[in-house]
């Protein structure tokens, strides 16, 4: 068995157990190895999703057929959504950085249930495999959109049942991660690591874990019901047999709106780690940021109805869901104000992680504010199911969670490899991504305001110029991503070695060697100061 290349030769979790074959990785219960397994799995699916998204943009570059037919187009946007949401962005933060960083940040040697953690990854791989198999078997890949709306997903002849089953398994993996993280954060904090000294990334993962535990089972039962509709003909969502398709939409969004917070909360947590370190200033409003994570998780679980304003709901229900949607904006804004206040009079260092963090604030704010346009009942009617929605959620999901993920990769991965990337190509990649991103998705919002519907194969000639602009933007964006990944991983394998604390952070992961040993800490740490108390780090 060929040993996996070790980045640095000092004793670390890469080599100190003496086991480095493939089996020692895919059956390891070490949280750092499992975190890296997740990282590479989600990145692989990100590249798949990105390719599909690129093809979608090429198809929409000009009216009429460009490269694929309508049925393939439907499959493309369905699989792009399923892969990006269920296989990339939901598992990305908790699975990769939650696993790698969180136990170290609370001063633990591992998560509470290391074997369950390994099972989570295996379930993820199994679910992902089933989803991939569903694309190439049966009567073609699903063409329903990632939302699997009934009754269409019952009637379509494509391979929906198998894909839905794969998503069900991935959901189970997400639940187990949530259970593991809540237990870990309750039980395994080091001495002196009080709740008021938890790094805010841990707070955000804690809130996320509760959403994973409480919302995902609803997705589970909803997916089971889709399969039952298709295989047993239960007719629970079929108006012809007394069912109601609206009930499906309710059940689906009871999970899928809180799922948005599974995607964005840990991203906000990562940003909250990066900003104070690169501003050389303690975080402003620690308690309010911790509180707002919990507030977003709770209030965000009650707003699902805003996806259904045009589906047929009473005016009173629309009013309540619209009001609650605006309530969620408050804790989100609390976070933004606290980040900006942290920057104020800070000694800001514009290195790659910080650039991603700063662009997160801007892009997330645009995504959040356009979300209020969609959350307001009156304006929603005009832009519902248009490209405005597509632009909006890409600003939140990609401009928010995605950019935060790339920032976190630059911030934390050097810790686990003991080497760092080159700064200049990283900056160039960020510039390309930032420009490309805004061209791609801002054009979509403009198209939506002009009335171009989403998920349509063809469009009127007046939409052609902006569609062309958006597609060109996607090429810039993709080239930025490719440059970023090449530079980052080249650096992690061959770059300049780093010390324990290259950025001057004050959380526990920066007190141990880079890369860390398998046991993380030589002796159980005793925490004596807060996570953003930079006076104690001994850095200039």
């Amino acid at each position: 068995m060929t040993p996996i290349v070790r980045p640095v030769t000092v004793p670390s979790f890469w080599n100190d157990t003496g086991k480095s074959g493939v089996a020692a990785w895919i059956f390891s219960t070490d949280h750092k190895r499992i975190g890296l397994l997740y990282l590479y799995s989600v990145l692989a699916f990100f590249l798949v999703g990105m390719t599909l998204g690129g093809l979608l943009r090429i198809e929409l570059m000009a009216p009429g057929r460009t490269i694929v037919g309508p049925q393939t187009y439907n499959a493309l946007f369905t699989v792009h959504g399923v892969v990006m949401i269920f296989l990339f962005i939901i598992p990305a933060f908790p699975g990769a950085f939650g696993n790698m960083v969180m136990p170290i940040q609370i001063g633990a040697r591992d998560v509470a249930f290391p074997r369950l953690n390994l099972l989570s990854w295996w379930l993820y791989v199994l679910g992902a495999t089933i989803i991939i198999v569903s694309l190439f078997t049966g009567d073609g890949p699903p063409d329903t959109g990632w939302t699997f709306y009934l009754p269409f997903s019952e009637r379509t002849g494509t391979n929906v049942s198998l894909a839905v089953f794969g998503v069900f398994i991935v959901g189970f993996s997400s639940i187990l991660t949530g259970i593991n993280f809540v237990t870990t954060i309750h039980q395994l904090r080091a001495e002196g690591m009080s709740w008021g000294r938890l790094p805010l990334f841990v707070w955000s993962l804690y809130a996320t874990a509760w959403v994973q535990i409480l919302a995902t089972p609803i997705l589970g039962i909803t997916l089971v019901l889709i399969i039952a509709e298709r295989l047993l003909g239960t007719g629970l969502f079929d108006p012809g047999r007394g069912g109601d398709p609206l009930m499906y939409q309710h059940l689906f969004w009871i999970y899928s709106h809180p799922a948005v917070y599974i995607m964005i909360l840990p991203a906000m947590g990562a940003i909250t780690e990066i900003i104070p370190v690169f501003s050389r200033k303690p975080i402003f409003g620690y308690k309010m940021i911790a509180f707002s994570s919990i507030a977003i998780a709770s209030a965000g679980s009650l707003v699902w109805g805003h996806h259904m304003f045009t589906s047929g709901m009473s005016d009173r229900a629309i009013l309540i869901f619209s009001f609650l949607t605006f309530v969620v904006a408050i804790p989100s804004a609390i976070k933004v104000f606290n980040w900006v206040s942290t920057l104020y009079k800070g000694s800001i260092s514009l290195e790659a992680p910080m650039l991603f963090a700063l662009s997160f604030i801007l892009l997330f704010s645009i995504g959040g504010l356009t979300g209020l346009i969609l959350g307001a009942a009156a304006t929603n009617i005009h832009v519902h199911d248009t490209h405005f929605v597509v632009g909006h959620f890409h600003y939140v999901m990609f401009g928010g969670a995605g950019f935060a993920f790339f920032g976190a990769m630059h911030y934390w991965l050097p810790k686990f490899y003991g080497r760092r990337y080159a700064e200049k190509p990283a900056l160039a990649a960020w510039v390309l991504m930032f420009i490309g991103f805004n061209i791609t998705y801002f054009s979509m919002m403009l198209l939506g305001v002009k009335g171009m519907p989403r998920r349509y194969y063809d469009y009127l000639p007046e939409f052609a110029p902006l569609n062309l602009v958006s597609t060109v933007g996607s090429w810039i964006l993709i080239s930025g991503v490719i440059l970023l990944l090449i530079n980052l991983f080249r650096g992690l394998w061959k770059g300049e070695p780093i010390g324990n604390n290259p950025w001057g952070g004050a959380t526990l992961e920066w007190t141990i060697p880079s890369p860390p040993p398998t046991e993380n800490f030589d002796a159980d740490p005793v925490v004596t100061h807060g996570p953003y108390d930079f006076r104690k780090t001994g850095m200039p």
Partner: protein
Amino acid sequence: MTGPHHQDHAGAKLGMWLFLATEVILFGGLFLLYAVYLARYPHEFATAGREMHLVFGTVNTVILITSSLLAAMAVTAIQRDESKTAVRCLGGTVFCGAFFLCNKYFEWSAEIGHGIYPNSSRLATGSPGESVFFSLYYLTLGLHGLHVLIGTALLAVVAVRVQQRTIHASNYALLENSALYWHLVDLIWIFIFPLYYLLL
């Protein structure tokens, strides 16, 4: 596969309670559908509810409550280090689980024999509310039956391990968690029984 396994009792129990919460929510989706469709089709639900076999439901309720008592007694027995009693109690629970599933088999056979099952021609020609009721009935009780099956298998494994002395007075987290799981199965039935057999 080295590395510390923090198998402290408190952690294992917290994890189990969180898992049980997810199970409650899983069934919660089906109960939510029941509530909405009951409000929409009160008369059809009442008509359909009269076709339920109250005897099967009542007997199964008694069986499950007894089995839950036995599971709780097994936990107390292992705490007192009385392995033999624990094994007997667990054996009783497993027997009750199997008995429950046998009843379920006969009940469903009778109903399917009468042409009551999802997408049957009898339900297709009947009123839509009745078809919804029976679809929900089969899905909810089917999912519950699956949990009974898993719980029974789990408790059987635990009984063997108590017999082999790998579960004992100072290490019984698995027994306690399996008993908790069994109580959940019982708890869900306590909601199913009145909703499908009694109220309508």
